[in-house]
Symmetry: C2
Subunit: 341 residues, 2 copies
């Protein structure tokens, strides 16, 4: 039995709970109780702790999970962790989970329903305690009517009603604010560019249509695949038209990058030739000249709220389905300065 040691870890290969028990002069059951929250006398607890240190024992989580029938694991399934929105949310989810002594397993679906199905099966094999999930529209529809064998909290995306809890932005309200702001600044021909694959894009489009109707303006919108390239191509064509919009609202930051590139490629001044507003307060939207007006999402709060919903449901399974709708914060910048005809 070879021994390694360092500041961090005293390792003896193959130390099990029996070895600790022997070293502490107690039974394995007592070691288990001392490590958990079982009732153990202070005296024995101290002996066990000393033995743990002496042996360098690390509990085997696979064994613990199997025996206790509790994986202590939260599944987190998102489109792409490289999307800064999901990056930030996942960080909040992980912090919250680690504080509760749980771990997180993360999967990237790439907005592909087949991979969503694959990862959902994987989550089953992991026997996860609960799932936090940003699904595509098609999977969202399926799951709205079906229960899984663990609680699910949707984030970022949700339908009306449904069987599962959800935490989402108030997309209609947020888009309404953006449109109202542009109108107030003197813009009338306001176009909308929306992603075509998530419910979020759809809700933001609805908010756009609603707001335009409220102001008696004629809406004009386009749907594109959720990539900067698709948005750039669409915007370049659109902005070449005779009757191009005075302003554009865009449903996410990836599309916003595409639109910005298109505007620059066309030599359009912002906001002189084209005002611009979008979602997600990423660092580049502030650093660019002029800064881009955006709706900032409460990303930490979304992650935390999702975990809270999950914990509450685990504690009280009978709770009614809850939907937490959070408001965005409108960050005004130069890209929507008052119109100068």
């Amino acid at each position: 039995m070879e021994t390694f040691s360092n500041i961090f870890i005293e390792v003896r290969m193959g130390v099990g709970i029996k070895d600790v028990a022997k070293a502490a002069g107690v039974s394995p059951a007592t070691v288990s109780r001392a490590l958990g929250k079982g009732p153990v006398s202070e005296e024995l607890r101290a002996q066990v702790e000393a033995a743990v240190r002496a042996t360098g024992y690390r509990p085997n989580l696979a064994a613990r999970r199997l025996r206790s029938q509790d994986s202590g694991t939260i599944g987190l399934v998102v489109a792409d962790i490289r999307n800064p929105f999901f990056t930030a949310v996942s960080r909040a989810v992980e912090d919250s989970a680690y504080r509760a002594g749980m771990r997180v397993i993360l999967c990237n679906t790439g907005e592909d329903p087949e991979r969503e199905a694959l990862y959902l099966r994987h989550m089953q094999s992991e026997r996860i305690t609960g799932l936090i999930f940003a699904p595509t529209r098609s999977t969202l529809d399926q799951l709205s009517k079906k229960a899984l064998d663990f609680p699910v909290v949707f984030i970022d995306r949700c339908g009306p009603g449904g069987l599962h809890d959800a935490v989402v932005l108030d997309n209609r309200e947020a888009m309404g604010e953006l449109v109202a702001h542009l109108v107030e600044r003197g813009y009338r021909r306001i176009g909308g560019l929306f992603g075509n694959s998530s419910s979020t894009g759809a809700q933001r489009r609805d908010g756009y249509l609603e707001a335009m109707a409220r102001f008696g303006l004629k809406p004009e919108f386009r749907l594109v695949a959720p990539s900067a390239e698709a948005a750039q191509a669409e915007a370049q064509a659109w902005l070449a038209a005779d009757e191009r919009p005075e302003a554009l609202v865009v449903s996410n930051s990836l599309l916003l990058i595409g639109v910005l590139r298109a505007a620059r490629a066309r030599g359009l001044a912002i906001p002189g030739d084209l005002a611009l507003a979008g979602f997600d307060n990423e660092s580049w939207t502030e650093l660019v000249e002029p800064g881009i007006t955006v709706i900032e999402q409460p990303v930490e709060e979304i992650g935390r709220a999702a975990m809270n919903l999950l914990f509450e449901r685990l504690k009280t399974p009978g709770l009614p389905v809850r939907k937490v709708v959070l408001s965005g914060r409108c960050v005004l910048r130069g890209s929507t300065a008052t119109r100068t005809p």
Copy 2:
């Protein structure tokens, strides 16, 4: 035994390998073999597959890991997943792992040695197959002389020699390129701003000093905590001095944001009053006016290479320690345009 079903998942609570065996008319051992790569006749394999479908069986991974003594898990420990460099690397690591049928567990240390120690212990409890790790300097030093009970591949950061494999950028070369480029464009008073907590910052500083010496120029550098705020404060003071640098090279993108803000706060034109170059080709460095010259790191390649080193070492433990040093790509933009005195 309640039954749920949907397109994705046919769930019967508590279906185990015995239930599948019964349904297929074979022994549990045969089910196990049919699901793995054990020798099973085509006939029985088909029966098992049908029974799996009929019962909605999902193997319990905790049991499998415990019994097979193989967690099939890669640990990934980084400073902060919100750093786009780590985001991209982690995505590459996960893709590579999932392709190999392994999963990844991710931890964020926040550059805190105590949390690094905590997570390293956690990795032990998970009985991970191997670790990919971007450590702080102090932990790097500790681990360089110590073996853990799983193979470790350092990414982004490494010391000289050491016991573990590593994948890093050629930081000296990259910084040398940046300095040479600035010199060629007519800059002489070139300052350096470096992070003070990682070996990467130190190596880039060394590359800077080396290059400045090569050109016979007087170096002037400062070290700061790895945050945009710290960099901004330091840069504001620095740029207020009478003898401020004509150009600044900056060791990471967080610091670069701070410097950019400081330059703007001081009303300095880029590159007229201050040329700027840094690391990591993030979208904002291109979108800003003028674009910022940066070293682009081969992030996907770093993640892939780290996984490959890990797999090779698992297959052949006796391999000598290897260090993969990858070259960055210098992306030239307006922030380092030819000097106009």
